[in-house]
């Protein structure tokens, strides 16, 4: 039956029928009109009425019988109305759809941006609500055989709903999308969508996308992301619906204006109603050791000069989310669409979280607050295993190294003793220097080997070489920072080994690598393959040059998990935070304003990875007996703070310039639209309405004594 309908539909018009009913159901439905006719003729119950005489009536009927067929039709008007209503209902059940082409249902992939900028209130009530509303409109006009999937994306993508045709579920799931404070990565979302939209892939809930169906991809975003390069959309037909106020009309570029200042940005974005703290750091004053400085930058995205006040609040360490106590404030006047720096000086406050708050009201409140922690230096825990290398030990006694690391020196015998061995296994040290000593098993720490190779089969095939000549070294790596004079270094003997897969060579010689970095289960082994001393005599002239202590210091910095107490390493909302806690316990607790006491287990690398930092603000990591490590999570994302929507071509833009306004996915510019696009509509409910109307007419005729 359904096939028949489709055949009929295919014959005549662009109306197509897609029925969700099976053959059995249609057979039952086909019986309905037959039953009505049968009942009408067999069981018509006429109301008996007594009249004085049937004389005149019978004479009238005799006359009528002359043209009885037509009269019969008129007599059975109610029957025909019933049949018409049933026919229309059946048509409605057949699910006719107005559509240009295609036989099967459409697939929709609805990608909704829920990044931080989508919380902006410049589109009332906010952009995310507008995006959800637009997506729900697509769901509302979905056909009965259409399937849609919903993906929410910020810096990560999440499948909110798998392919389903159930519109109430889809609406619910769309409604459930909550705003995040994360950055935007369209690539993440596209990868998920493309993976699910590929032909013949199982796409969940038992539905297989076939290659015939090209899914329509709707991206609801404000365009706050970089172009996605090198990405193939494949089957997807993207349509970007830009949520946000429309861009102002096109203006000629700056060089066309004679008075434009030269320092103007190459292409400033369109203004938007936002003030944002885009950076915040704290650092000890270089000159005055007891003074801490908190300095940051505020960007004004408005087209007008903005006046606001930056207020400095001090928070309690143990209570993340407390309102804080006002410490200082600075009035700021920020020219349109530029940065303004600010700075607070503090007499050493000890360990304390601070917050800078802007008092201005704007469309995005998240970026008006920024957090930093003062006084959380962490020293690297370094163990040196040497049989008494004076050059090396002296190098580790410089003030800079002492400031940044706690160095323990042990002989190989001491290191093999049980007490030290347990500490090594328990991850007590960040970095272990093996000077010409090879441990029996790899330690639970980063290592730096001098003249020895790490244990393991990869290093079995070492060969001894004489007088290698250093040719090149990798100055791009942090361990080789400021190292310039290696070409002067002489090396008498070295062991050359083919570094294992994934290694990075640091120093190359004419006979092979002299130093390299090799990854090992989350740790890093740095290997310098020539010994420093050969017996009592030096094996190399490296000690004479400044590059040796620099290399040791760099190694401690890079491999020793040193934290200098500044906001250098900023945690972003939604991203995992790696915590280095000076403890050997299996887990620590992290308090946040929303969820205190989250247990975080130790990772194999000895760090603690906190996954729940999805809001900006202060967090506190705690461990027994009295360890406390506050850390800040900040937005600090220029793109998210820039609320001007991207992807819409302003009115009046010349043809040649239009390309630059479009969002590029792969190499294809995609034009954004400001409003939700039209989709194919089901028209079955028109028939259902008609059937209802016919029923009403029938009721009226029956009850209101209308004669035809």
């Amino acid at each position: 039956m359904g096939g028949l309908w489709n055949w009929i539909g295919g014959l005549s018009s662009p109306i197509e029928l897609s029925t969700p009913l099976g053959l059995a159901a249609w057979s039952v439905l086909a019986g309905v009109p037959v039953g009505i006719i049968a009942l009408y003729f067999l069981k018509l119950r006429r109301r008996p009425v007594r009249v004085p005489s049937t004389l005149l009536w019978q004479r009238s009927l005799e006359d009528l019988h002359v043209n009885s067929l037509f009269q019969r039709l008129r007599r059975n008007l109610l029957l025909f109305l019933q049949l018409l209503a049933v026919a229309l209902t059946m048509l409605a059940l057949a699910g006719p759809q107005m559509r240009g082409s295609g036989v099967t249902g459409q697939r929709y992939v609805l990608m909704i941006d829920n990044s931080a900028s989508m919380s902006a209130t410049d589109v009332p009530p906010n952009r995310l609500a507008a995006a959800k509303e637009a997506a729900r409109k697509v769901v509302d006009v979905m056909g009965s055989s259409d399937l849609a999937m919903v993906i929410a994306f910020s810096d990560t993508a999440r499948v909110v709903s798998n392919y389903t045709g159930d519109r109430s579920i889809l609406s619910q799931r769309i409604e459930s999308i909550a705003p995040t404070q994360a950055a935007t990565s369209l690539r993440e979302g596209l990868q998920v969508a493309a993976g699910l939209a590929n032909p013949s892939k199982q796409i969940g809930e038992g539905v297989v996308a076939s290659s015939v169906i090209t899914p329509k991809l709707f991206i609801y975003t404000d365009g706050g992301f970089s172009d996605v390069e090198g990405f193939s959309l494949g089957n997807l037909e993207p349509e970007v619906v830009v949520i946000g106020p429309p861009p102002p009309a096109y203006e000629p570029p700056a060089e066309a204006r004679p008075n434009a200042p030269a320092a103007e940005r190459p292409r400033t974005g369109n203004p938007s109603d936002n003030l944002a703290i885009v950076a915040l750091q704290s650092r000890r004053d270089e000159e005055k050791a007891d003074v801490y400085q908190i300095f940051g930058r505020v960007h004004n995205f408005r087209a007008q000069e903005a006046a606001t006040e930056a207020q400095l609040y001090r928070h309690a360490v143990d209570k993340p989310g407390d309102p804080g106590e006002l410490v200082d404030a600075i009035a700021l006047k920020i020219p349109p669409q530029t940065d303004q720096a600010f700075k607070f000086d503090l007499i050493d406050p000890g360990l304390a979280p601070f917050e800078v708050r802007l008092t201005a009201k704007d469309a995005l409140p998240i970026d008006n607050r920024a957090f930093t922690v003062v006084g959380t230096t962490r020293k690297a825990q370094v163990l040196v295993v040497t049989s008494g290398n004076r050059y090396l030990i002296d190098t580790l006694k410089t003030p800079l190294v002492e400031e940044r690391a706690d160095v323990a020196v042990k002989t190989p015998e001491e290191a093999r003793a049980e007490a030290v061995a347990r500490e090594i296994r328990g991850g007590r040290f960040d970095l272990i220097l093996y000077d010409g000593v090879r441990p029996e098993a790899p330690p639970q720490a980063n290592t730096l080997y001098f003249g020895a190779l790490p244990p393991g089969p990869a290093y079995e095939k070492a060969k001894d070489v004489e007088q290698p000549v250093i040719l090149d070294w990798d100055i791009g790596h942090p361990m080789m920072q400021y190292i310039r004079d290696l070409s002067l270094v002489f090396v008498a003997r070295a062991k050359i080994v083919e570094p294992p897969a994934g290694s990075r060579n640091l120093i190359e010689s004419n006979q092979g690598p002299l130093a390299f970095l090799a990854p090992r289960e989350g740790f890093t082994d740095a290997v310098v393959s020539f010994p420093l001393i050969d017996g009592d005599a030096p094996n190399t002239t490296w000690f004479r040059y400044i590059s040796f202590p620099l290399f040791v210091l760099n190694s401690i910095q890079a491999l020793g998990n040193v934290r200098e107490g500044s906001g250098d390493e900023t945690a972003r909302p939604g991203q995992p935070v790696v915590l280095h806690a000076e403890t050997i316990s299996k887990e620590i607790a992290v308090d946040s304003a929303a969820r205190p006491g989250v247990r975080v287990p130790r990772s194999p690398q000895g760090t603690f990875i906190y996954q729940d930092a999805d809001k900006t603000g202060m967090y506190l990591a705690r461990w027994e007996p009295s360890g406390r490590l506050p850390f800040a999570v900040n937005l600090f994302d220029f793109r998210e703070s820039d609320l001007a929507p991207r992807g819409l071509v302003p009115d009046g833009t010349p043809e040649a310039m239009q390309e630059s306004y479009k969002i590029k996915i792969g190499y294809n510019p995609v034009t954004g639209t400001g409003k939700a696009p039209e989709v194919q509509k089901d028209i079955w409910w028109y028939f259902a309405l008609l059937a209802l109307g016919v029923l009403l007419v029938e009721w009226y005729i029956y009850n209101r004594r209308v004669y035809i």
Binding site: L44, R45, R46, R47, P48, V49, R50, V51, P52, S53, T54, L55, L56, W57, Q58, R59, S60, L61, D63, L64, Q71, R74, R75, N76, L77, Y702, R705, Y707, I708
Partner: protein, 313 residues
Amino acid sequence: MSPETSNIPEVPHRAPAGDPNSGPLLDPVFLHKLEQLELISRKIFVGRMKGERKSRRRGSSVEFAEHRNYTTGDDLRHIDWNVYGRLDKLFLKLFLEEEDLHVYTVLDASLSMDFGTPTKLRYGKQVAAALAFIGLVNHDRVLVDTFSARLEQGLHGIRGRSQMWRVVQYLEKLKPTGSSDLTAACREFAIRHPGKGVVVVISDFLDKRGYQDALRYLLARNMDIYVVHVLSQEEVNPDLVGDLRLVDVEDGNSAEITISAPLLKRYKDTLNAFVGGLKEWCTSRGITYIFTTNQYPFDKLILNYLRERGLVK
């Protein structure tokens, strides 16, 4: 009424309050007006008793009619002796005799008359009572007969207004019964009443056997015939809806109809043809045809309409 049709709901035809089918047939004010009226006949009929009307029969009254030659055996008392004195010939002086008028009222009391508000029967009773009153007041001989399947024995030969109560009592006791057979009733009437006079037939004429034979029996008696055709409003404008089985109250015959606009139009056409046919048949044979419905005020019918038609003056 057949047992089969006894549980069939009737078309409501009685108003709940102020029942038009109860109360006196004639009210005193109306009666007073009726006293002014007089039944007339276009024909002069022979009555049995001397009455207040001129008769074509020559007789002994004061009003001279004509002379004629004496023949043997004539009553010598009527010889005009003055003429004999002058002409020496015997002439009889003839006078117009004054006679009473026979007023027959034949009222249909079949079940079909029991419809309408007021019922057609009640309406017919009122007309019959009014005519009887006029007749009685004028010393006419009044006869009231009713019929359904056959002619019933009614009131015969009452005279004088003092007898009015008998008429009223008779009519009020009258109940609708049986099916109507107009032909049989009229034949019996004609046999039973050989004398001439004014016959007023009050009926709805909804008789499937037709009315022609019936009226022919009356015509054969050379009577002055008036036909009062009473229909109810429900018959003129049927208030019916839907799929119906119409059941004839008299013979139980049923007709299945589905009310529609063409059927209603067809019914009205049929009704008009029926009424028009009866009227034409009557007027072409010297029968005065009076059509009325139960909605037409019956006093107006008597005071205005019958007067126009010449039944009363």
